[in-house]
Structure formats: structure tokens, C-alpha cells
């Protein structure tokens, strides 16, 4: 435990690099998850039976099973039917699909909260359904979702630690390396834990700042039903 | 007549920069019904909460049955067994039936055996006219019914004094009567009661003494007829005139 400061001094380049990969994985996963989540939410609210079913299946599957299992399924399982992905792509896919399923629920909730009235008003001035979604519903829904959604980046960041199990060289993997080199697993992982805490703290602060900047005056988190 | 059952002596309550009330002294005799009236925010509710020690006063003393309850060594929980309180928002225990609400104090605080507690609880519920709702939950009762259960809950502890903190202010108009009716019955049975309320009809008909409080002190007190027809102070006259305008019209219609 007392070795922690020493580990920081000795291994800071590796820790920095690992943290970088962790952040990269987070951002990538978040972006992919946002796209998937949005498509899935739209499919469930506005799509026909087929698309709705697909979306529900996706969400239920990826929220109803552990991320680790999803990761192994992609990395170890797919080669069984001839699809072999690199560890980086496997991690990206697993994290993205997983995050997308959770984001789908936040977004679906906020799209529903915007209410039918807004859609009606859009169609009443001649907009097509998809134009109305793009111009009227989404801008409001995305902002409404922010408070709940703000949990997702931190949650995803913490999830990325799992991918060390398929040897992606992110922060936790660096911890494993330090543990092996110093024969001090507790010290090594505590060092890594502290780096995670620092990143989470910074991410959290960033999100709070971003939330304030995007606010619409008078538009409460409760939203309005038209 | 022996000494007053409740004595408040020079009680002061300050909250931050605000003086809520200052040097309040009040004697309540056994069997008396005292109604405290006055403009909102004059510390009437706070006074009640100081009397049952829910809120600590800054200075002064309170004596209940001759014992000083504001003394440092006094056991607050035990004191509250002797002072019953009825709240504006009823504050029934939502997870308990009406019967259990009345019983919980008996079985958990007074450690009464279950059968006896049940019997007493049913007796009190009957007293407020709700024995047929014993197994209903607060969520299934109207406001007036909830408040009556609240009264039964307080009565079950056999308190020396009952405090009523604006008991009908949160009720729909048509439900006020049933609660005031219960309170009137209690008064006639010589329960010692201290009531904060805006219900002037009740004050006039039922109170033995009315206390007019304003800006943190007692302006005047006396028998209802004295206060309403021969008020000594200008402020008392003004306040009662304003109120009676409202309530006088209500009475004419009744």
C-alpha cells in the first residue's frame, strides 16, 4: 500500500498511456452507443412492428446479459463462424453495443416525454414524420435526456476496465503489468484505482460544465407535455 | 382548583435572526379548551412544537403536571407520551392501517400487551367515529377521516394535554365539520386542549378562553364573548373584525 507513490513515479508513462487508451475506448463506445441508442429508441417509438421488435430484442439482450459475456461472445465466439475481429475491434463493438442498449432506454424515455402534441404541431405545418423528428422532437428530447444520460459516460468509463481480459492495453492492463513486475498486486491495483478516480472526477466536472452550457432557459428537467 | 396542568413561563424562540416569539407566558387549567388565534406566521405553531419539545425553545420554562419538562435532565420521549399532538397535515403512518396507526404508540412505546393495545385502539377509533375503517390504509381514507385517525392516535396515549396545530387548515371545506365535531366532543368531555386554528365559529362556541397572538407575543386573552364583543386592544378589534367579516357571513348562511 505504501508503495503507491513510488509506483506513480516509476510507471507514470505506462499509466498515462493506459489512461489514454481507456479514454479513447470510452469516447468511441459512447459515440457508437449514442448512434445505436438513438436508432433503437426511434425504432421503438416511431417504427413499425418489425423495427420495434428488433430494437426491443437488441435492448433486452444487451441489458440482460453481462458485458463480459458479450465481450467473449464477440472475441472468442464469432471466430467459430468465421468472423475474427481484432481485440481492439471486439472491445469497441462490445462496449458500443452494450452502451447503446442502456442509452436506448434513456433516449426512449425522453422522446416519449416530449409528447405527441409536439409531433402534431410539426405535422400540422406540413412536416413529414421524419422531418418533424429531426427538427422538433430530437432537439428537445436530447436536451431533456441530459441529466439522466450524464451517468452514462462515467458508467462506460468504468466498464472499459473489463477489456483487459482480452489483453487490450488500457489502464487495468497496465495495473496487471505493474503487479507482475513488482509482485505487489494490491499496490499496483490501488495505483490504478487512484488514476481511475482522478479520471472519473475530471469527467464528472466536465459533464457538469457541459450540462450548464447546453441548458435551454425555462426548460426544466421535467419537460412539458404539449 | 389546583395548579394549572400546563404552565409556560417566559418562553422565547429565536430562529437565526428572527424572533419567533418572546417572553410568552400562558397557564392552562385542567379541562380547559384554549384556542390561539392570530395572523399567520406569528409563531403559534412553533409555540405548540415547543410545548411538546419537538422544537427546543431558546429560553424560558414549561411545566407539565408540576414537573419542569424543559429541565436538561427531563426525558423528551417520556414527556411526549403525556402531550398529544394533531398535525395540520395529519402525518399518519402510511404503511400502517388506521388501527395500527392508533396502536403503534401503545405497543411499541408504552409496551402494552397486544390484546390490550388493540382493545384500547379500537375504543379510540370508535370515539372518533371510525371503527368501521380500522383496516383501511391512510391512502384509502379521506382527509377528514385521516385527521380523525390522527386524533385517535394522539388520544390513545392518554395525554394530559392535547395540542391541535391548525387541524382543519388542510381539509376540503365539507370535511372540516366532522373533525371540529370530534374536537367539540372532546372539549365537552373536559379534555385539556390547546388549539391553534382559524375556525372562529369553533373558537366562539367551544373555547373556554381565546388567546390572540401577534408578532410573537400575546396581545390579549379572555373569554370568547369578552374578546369578540369587548376587546381591550385595538389590534384585537381589527383582527377580529377582519376575520368575522369572513366568518360572520359564513355563519349567516349556515
Amino acid at each position: 500500500m505504501s508503495d503507491v507513490p513510488e509506483f506513480f513515479i516509476r510507471f507514470w508513462p505506462q499509466l498515462l498511456q493506459g489512461a489514454g487508451i481507456t479514454l479513447l475506448l470510452t469516447v468511441q463506445g459512447l459515440a457508437a452507443g449514442l448512434v445505436l441508442g438513438l436508432l433503437s429508441a426511434l425504432a421503438r417509438v416511431y417504427g413499425n412492428k418489425f423495427w420495434r421488435g428488433l430494437a426491443v430484442g437488441y435492448v433486452e439482450l444487451f441489458r440482460g446479459t453481462p458485458l463480459l459475456v458479450q465481450l467473449f461472445l464477440i472475441y472468442y465466439g464469432l471466430p467459430g463462424i468465421g468472423i475474427t475481429l481484432s481485440r481492439e475491434w471486439s472491445a469497441f463493438l462490445a462496449l458500443g453495443l452494450n452502451s447503446g442498449a442502456y442509452q436506448a432506454e434513456y433516449l426512449r424515455g425522453s422522446i416519449l416525454a416530449i409528447g405527441e402534441g409536439q409531433m402534431m404541431a410539426g405535422r400540422a405545418i406540413g412536416m413529414s414524420k421524419w422531418r418533424a423528428i429531426w427538427e422538433i422532437i430530437l432537439p428537445q428530447a436530447l436536451r431533456l435526456a441530459i441529466p439522466a444520460w450524464a451517468n452514462e459516460p462515467v458508467s462506460l468509463l468504468k466498464s472499459t476496465a473489463i477489456v483487459f481480459l482480452i489483453a487490450v492495453p488500457e489502464l487495468m492492463a497496465v495495473g496487471k503489468t505493474i503487479a507482475a513486475r513488482t509482485y505487489n498486486p494490491i499496490g499496483a491495483y490501488m495505483t490504478v484505482a487512484l488514476v481511475y478516480l482522478a479520471i472519473v472526477y475530471l469527467l464528472d466536472a466536465f459533464l457538469k460544465w457541459a450540462e450548464v452550457r447546453v441548458k435551454i432557459p425555462g426548460f426544466e428537467a421535467e419537460g412539458r407535455k404539449a | 382548583m389546583d395548579s394549572p396542568i400546563l404552565q409556560v413561563k417566559n418562553l422565547t424562540k429565536i430562529y437565526g435572526q428572527n424572533v419567533i416569539f418572546e417572553n410568552i407566558s400562558l397557564d392552562v387549567n385542567r379541562g380547559e379548551t384554549i384556542v390561539i388565534i392570530g395572523p399567520s406566521g406569528t409563531g403559534k405553531s412553533t409555540l405548540l412544537r415547543c410545548i411538546n419539545l419537538l422544537t427546543p425553545a431558546n429560553s424560558g420554562q414549561i411545566f407539565l403536571n408540576g414537573q419542569e419538562i424543559t429541565a436538561p435532565e427531563s426525558n423528551e420521549d417520556k414527556v411526549r407520551q403525556q402531550v398529544g399532538m394533531v398535525f395540520q397535515n395529519f402525518l399518519l403512518f402510511n404503511h400502517l392501517t388506521a388501527l395500527d396507526n392508533v396502536m403503534v404508540g401503545l405497543s411499541k412505546v408504552k409496551k402494552m400487551p397486544k390484546a390490550r393495545a388493540r382493545e384500547k385502539a379500537l375504543y379510540e377509533l370508535n370515539r372518533v367515529g371510525l371503527s368501521d375503517r380500522a383496516d383501511h390504509y391512510p391512502g384509502q381514507l379521506s382527509g377528514g377521516q385521516q385527521q380523525r385517525v390522527g386524533i385517535a392516535r394522539a388520544l390513545a396515549m392518554d395525554p394530559s394535554v392535547m395540542l391541535f396545530d391548525e387541524p382543519t387548515s388542510a381539509l376540503d371545506p365539507e370535511l372540516i365539520g366532522e373533525v371540529l365535531g370530534v374536537m367539540e366532543t372532546l372539549a365537552r368531555e373536559h379534555m385539556t386542549m390547546l388549539v391553534v386554528t382559524h375556525e372562529m365559529g369553533f373558537a366562539r362556541e367551544v373555547a373556554n378562553r381565546i388567546v390572540f397572538m401577534e408578532k410573537g407575543s400575546i396581545v390579549e386573552q379572555g373569554k370568547p364573548d369578552d374578546l369578540f364583543y369587548r376587546p381591550q386592544h385595538e389590534r384585537t378589534r381589527e383582527f377580529l373584525w377582519k376575520i368575522s367579516e369572513l366568518y360572520g357571513k359564513k355563519e349567516e348562511k349556515a
Binding site: I162 | L91, V104, G139
Partner: protein
């Protein structure tokens, strides 16, 4: 052959369930204690419990799992991977459960405490007979979310060598060259377990709901 295969993985189910059944209650007891300290304790207890929560929720569970595992299976205390892993998961979960229970406690209005004290209950009696029964009811929906998270996180003890569902799937895929089947089966089994837990807890929430319509 398929039967053997499936049954081998299914044996992992009892281990997975066992891990969850150790971790979840451990987290509940610890989390409830912390929530009570945070809601009703003095300033120092508030700060300490809040700090614990921030710390334990700001670090990935797998990192905490490794730290706690090495501590619990080391020199001072020597537990098997199953126990070290399960208890560690419980400790991790306690921080999240603390937040859930804290929210539930705070949402029971102060009026309930006031009313309880007004009939002479001590603070502890009030918490025990009036506040907690209501708070625990309110906490069931978010708590059932946490329960399914703990069930899913039990897969992390794979990394400690505990023979739960995932590890068995992996062993199987190594021996019979059918990785998609093995991991697919694991996913399916987890899916069913999570589904059952959610259903069960939904039913519990329904059963303990307080009636609001006049009978």
C-alpha cells in the same frame, strides 16, 4: 452430446447464484448501515460514509474486485476465491445500495419522523417502526436494478478462477472447438436468470404496495 454440454455449463449456475446470494445481502446490510449513518448520523459519520460512497463508485468494479480479492485471500485473512470474490462483490455493491437506500430514506418526509416522535417514540424506534418500513418499500424498484447488476457482475469472478457460468463456457469452448455455442449458451443462461430475478422482484414490489383505493 449437446445435453452433456449444456449441463456442464448449467452446473455453473449454482455457483453464479451462490456468488450473488452472498454478495447481494452483504451489500444490503453494509449499504443499509451506511445509509442510516449518512442520513441520521453526526457530521463526521456523514462525511465518512459519503466519502466511502464516492470512492467505491468512482473505481471500476473489476479493479476493486482485484484489490479486495488480494486483501481477502492474502496473509491476514485467507479466503477461497469463491468467498473472497463474493464478499468483495458485496462490498462493492454496498456503495451503490447505500445511495439507493439513502434516497429512499430521504424521500420519506420529515413529517413521518415528527409524527413518530410526537407520540413519544425515540429516534431509533421511529426509524425502526415508521421510517424503514416505508423506505424499504420505496427502494424496491431501484434495488431490483442493483440486484440484476450484481447478478451480471458475478461474471467478473471469472477472472479469479471461480467455476461459474462464464468460466465453464470458456473451458468448454477450449475443449470442443464450439466457442459460439458455448458462449451463446452462457449468454442465454444469464439472460434467463436476469429475467427471473426481475420478474420476481417486480412481483415483490406489487405485493408490498400500499393500497390507495377505498376497499
Amino acid at each position: 452430446m449437446f445435453g452433456n454440454f449444456f449441463s456442464y455449463i448449467l452446473q455453473g449456475v449454482s455457483i453464479t447464484i451462490a456468488v450473488t446470494l452472498v454478495a447481494l445481502p452483504a451489500g444490503l446490510v453494509l449499504g443499509l448501515g451506511l445509509a442510516l449513518l449518512n442520513t441520521y448520523g453526526g457530521p463526521w459519520l456523514k462525511r465518512l460514509s459519503a466519502g466511502y460512497s464516492l470512492l467505491m463508485r468512482g473505481v471500476p468494479p473489476v479493479v476493486l474486485l482485484f484489490i479486495l480479492y488480494f486483501i481477502l485471500s492474502g496473509n491476514v485473512v485467507n479466503l477461497t476465491p469463491f468467498w473472497a470474490g463474493s464478499i468483495s462483490l458485496g462490498i462493492i455493491s454496498s456503495a451503490y445500495q447505500m445511495e439507493i437506500l439513502r434516497g429512499a430514506l430521504l424521500s420519506i418526509s420529515g413529517g413521518q419522523m415528527t409524527a413518530a416522535r410526537a407520540i413519544g417514540m425515540s429516534r431509533i424506534q421511529a426509524i425502526r417502526y415508521i421510517i424503514l418500513p416505508q423506505a424499504l418499500r420505496i427502494a424496491i424498484p431501484p434495488w431490483s436494478n442493483e440486484a440484476s447488476i450484481v447478478l451480471k457482475d458475478s461474471s467478473l469472478v471469472y477472472a479469479l478462477g471461480v467455476p461459474e457460468i462464464l468460466r465453464r463456457a470458456q473451458q468448454l469452448s477450449a475443449t470442443n472447438q464450439q466457442p459460439l455455442l458455448a458462449f451463446g449458451a452462457a449468454a442465454l443462461i444469464y439472460f434467463v436468470l436476469v429475467f427471473l430475478v426481475n420478474r420476481g422482484l417486480d412481483a415483490l414490489a406489487e405485493k408490498t404496495k400500499l393500497p390507495t383505493q377505498a376497499a
